[in-house]
Assembly symmetry: C2
């Protein structure tokens, strides 16, 4: 059965995203540098994010709230309100960053359009993700855009069944082994990992083993070569 | 052409939601009562929410961030960090409220199941809305759940085309004239308004005129009577 459906993760697969979180975290560290050292602060923030994940899910608003909470904690409640306002501003400015596709992304999508059903499957805040897809200018290449709260094997099964011809004839491409590759492989799809130099600590996972449906590419422009081999 | 698809708004149509925002706002006002009077505070909060809508969309996280910002503003930056932590807690506690369906909702859904395609079309935060649908125990009655960032005529057209047989054979039921009724009528669907005693200031709108596709019910248990008439 030949491949009919190709799905792409969005953040750090089609465009850069994690770097905006890193830049904002730098700004956050600058604001609190007199209160605590850098590594304590980063650990506290990650710990707060992890604790809040069940309340906030993924995205900029939850990140902003976790920064505020961490700031209150590490300063023992001594942070002035003006600094909290500064954190709120920093959070809003994250949304003003332009969403520019990575090199080769648009030409690859153009070459695939019409030959395969093309999807975006992205996890995160509905509002954030819609804005980025609109800003990227890539929306029209896709036959479907699915914004989900978590990426599990079931998520992929459901989407590949409703948009495509089931997981067996589908491929998921992304930068996160944990969210894009493992659950897609578990669903029975192909999993194509394109590593990105920045990956969130919560997205780390081991490479899958014992599967002939896993591939790793250096860049999205190697995709057509892979598709030729699979065809 | 007979009706084939019935879609329900979620918050304050299937279950109570706005009252949780009201309760939290009361708590917020209590926290700041020494700084400003009630009506100034409510107006400031609504103004902040309106200004932030393009950044945060709808939902609890955006509401929490707007409360924090308003608190900093109305206290001239004098609010202590411990009170901001209190606001963050209040925001998180909103999510701990159980989502219990209104009376008659489940029996009505049961009676419609199998006779019509049943959908939920709700606007808001993906994470909040998924949690409420899961908590409500109603998920299995629906053939589709669509969580959208805004409800426009296009939103309804797209959904009624992809899940149903187009807007002409579809009905939207909800408590907001602005989000549930006007755009659904504009799309060509039936619009059935079930008012709720609490409606957010930003959702107010006039009743539609010059249409024979608009109905108003006092309660969801009047729905089967309406469907008999339309059939």
């Amino acid at each position: 059965m030949s491949l009919s459906t190709i799905a792409f993760d969005a953040d750090d697969t089609l465009w850069s995203n994690e770097h905006i979180f890193h830049l904002t975290e730098e700004r956050f560290r600058g604001l609190l540098s007199s209160h605590t050292d850098i590594s304590t602060l980063s650990n506290s923030l990650l710990e707060t994010e992890r604790r809040n994940l069940g309340y906030y899910g993924y995205g900029i608003k939850g990140f902003t709230l976790s920064m505020i909470e961490t700031a209150i904690e590490v300063t023992g409640g001594q942070i002035p309100a003006s600094d909290i306002q500064e954190i709120i501003h920093a959070g809003r400015e994250m949304q003003d960053h332009p969403t520019a596709p990575f090199p080769h992304v648009e030409e690859v999508l153009k070459s695939l359009k019409g030959k395969y059903r093309l999807l975006v499957i992205t996890k995160g805040d509905l509002f954030d993700q819609e804005r980025k897809i609109a800003q990227s200018g890539l929306g029209d290449y896709f036959d479907g855009v699915e914004i989900v709260s978590e990426k599990t094997a079931d998520t992929y099964k459901t989407i590949f069944q409703s948009y495509g011809d089931g997981p067996e004839r589908s491929m998921m491409i992304g930068n996160s082994l944990k969210s894009d590759i493992h659950p897609a492989l578990d669903a029975g799809a192909y999993g194509v990992h394109i590593p990105h130099d920045l990956t969130w600590a919560m997205e780390h996972a081991e490479k899958p083993e014992n599967t002939d449906r896993f591939y790793q590419l250096k860049s999205i422009n190697e995709l057509s070569g892979l598709l030729d081999i699979l065809d």
